[in-house]
Symmetry: C2
Subunit: 345 residues, 2 copies
């Protein structure tokens, strides 16, 4: 860790962050210039980086525990989409003065203490260790960047660019909960029952990276991505990278009971889930002959897997995702994420 312009940075690192690095000897308890990770025979290193900005990626009132969860999990979700096993991460914290001083207008207690305790829980849950990073002051909003590092068997990483015509399109879990959780947080789902509200908000705050599922997709899925921008947009990424198009059926998109209630009790309709992001489920394509294997994986990993459509070569332009209704008629869907959900600010 390096310091710059943060008065008590060494103390902060020593007290709050260094203990998080204890399991990885190559992190040198965050006292050196860089971390050293051993090479692992037969494995490749998988690296991803994501930044969260307060007011953009989470509401300013969000509890530090949720921010810690989200910062770690959105990164682990990217590793999961490649089929990698997460191992370590570096963390950059750009902290406004009130957080350095332990004062947050909307958060009780010492922000950093709560944030780091939550990181410890994440580390335990996902088997990752902090190995380095940076802490700096900012006159702007709290900004967190994590670089997550994982390993995958040599040559086995699952890419976006290798979907093939004829592949089935599969998605894990349920779609739309996180985006509707954000609506709930913003007070736009007022008619919803308390338990359903809680479920949707929890999905927005605490995405569950599908790491075990990703590992099961090695040598099984042709292509994969995690659903962060929105189902249609992310499937579009696979299609563009693979030079194909896709047709998915609106009716088949799996939704939770909580989301179904939200649809019944608001003016939103099911097609609104197509553009909602933050699900962090895995979206992948498999050769049709592998369909039977889905059930095995679903049981093994305790996750719902739903075939929602098919990859095409000649239907639609390259990169196009066509969503059809129960009558087989294409919907007029803007292929963009965040259609209804916009910025959090």
């Amino acid at each position: 860790m390096s310091d710059k312009e943060m008065p008590d940075e060494f103390e902060l690192i020593k007290r709050h962050l260094a203990p998080l690095s204890a399991k990885e000897p190559g992190a040198f308890l965050l006292t050196d210039d860089a971390a050293v990770l051993p090479s692992k025979a037969g494995l490749e290193t998988v690296i991803t980086m994501d930044t969260l900005v307060s007011g953009i990626h989470f509401l300013e009132s969000t509890a530090p525990e949720y921010i810690a969860s989200k910062a770690v999990r959105v990164n682990l979700s990217d590793l999961a989409a490649m089929g990698a096993q997460p191992a370590a991460y570096t963390l950059s914290l750009a902290l406004p003065e009130h957080i350095q001083a332990g004062l947050h207008p909307q958060v009780d207690g010492v922000w950093l203490e709560r944030f780091c305790e939550a990181l410890a829980v994440e580390q335990e849950l996902f088997g990752v260790t902090l190995i380095g990073g940076d802490t700096v002051s900012t006159p702007g909003p709290l900004t967190l960047t994590i670089t997550a590092i994982g390993y995958v068997e040599q040559g086995q990483a699952i890419k976006r660019s290798t979907a093939r015509a004829g592949d089935l399109v599969v998605v894990s879990g349920t779609i739309g909960d996180a985006a509707f959780g954000l609506l709930a947080l913003k007070g736009e789902l007022e008619a919803l029952s308390a338990p359903s509200l809680e479920i949707l908000i929890e999905r927005q705050h605490r995405p569950g990276p599908q790491i075990a599922l990703g590992r099961s997709l090695l040598n099984f899925a042709n292509a994969a991505i995690d659903v962060s921008d929105g189902l249609v947009q992310d499937l579009g990424h696979i299609c563009t990278a693979s030079g194909v198009s896709a047709v998915i059926e609106l009716e088949k998109i799996p939704t939770s009971a909580a989301l179904d209630e939200a649809l019944r009790r608001s003016s939103f309709v099911k097609s609104d889930v197509l553009g909602g992001g933050d699900d962090y489920e895995l979206l992948f394509t498999i050769p049709p002959e592998c369909e039977a294997g889905l059930q095995t994986i679903s049981k093994e990993r305790n996750v719902i897997l739903t075939v929602i459509g098919k990859v095409h070569q000649e239907t639609g332009a390259i990169g196009e995702v066509i969503v059809i209704d129960h009558a087989g008629m294409p919907l007029d869907v803007m292929v963009t994420g965040f259609r209804h959900f916009g910025s959090m600010t």
Copy 2:
């Protein structure tokens, strides 16, 4: 690369950033969830992360070329201090709206274009390739985080914690230029000649990471660090980590002719260089019997190497750095960086 809330982010990545990743096949032209780096037999992976915030780590008026240089180089300097050979980096850009729009009150042209062209030059100079990252919007200042990845021969990384009593303390290049360059940028060195001003400011803008020197220190230096916080503070880090103290001689600290001129023409004195940061030279300790080897390395790497003091076991407390004058009398030096230099804002 993932996107969130930046309208033209995909276009930005495709146009400006993807070309920077072309040399590393595992970066997938920044179109996948994560990058995949091959494992390298006999080598360990070295990882470091540094964040720069506009107004904190560089003046807001700084040209994008200098920001690119600095963001890359401060990270490569950390790898150099471990003796690692840099290979790749990920980049997180949190961009204020005016930069996304190509408008910067104090910078001509399209900021991002100039920034990325400068990154290309850095890549060429140091043999590194962009392999991933993130671009997000921020309502705050421009914030850049780089995670740099390098390789070092197994078990050979040079640490801070392995200095031994009796070691000589050596520093590369000249010390203090960057800190005085900052003073110059702030208009506090007005009596200085134009060429000297330029030299000092260039050292502040464009630190030269001592990568080749770092490689030469493998199996030669006992401990190393890069001088980022300030000479005394960074030597203190080595001493604390190693459980030793050090005595250095003020007169021996190498300074440039430009800095000497600055000292003559201002009220600053030589001891003011002790707390100035941003030099990004290497500070290391060697067994006394290795002193003769310094000359060989100095010639090979074309860098000045100066013995400035000695590591002790029984003089001073653990972690203490004592600076003595020409008469051998200890100076009253606060062991803190940035004594005179404070924040850039």
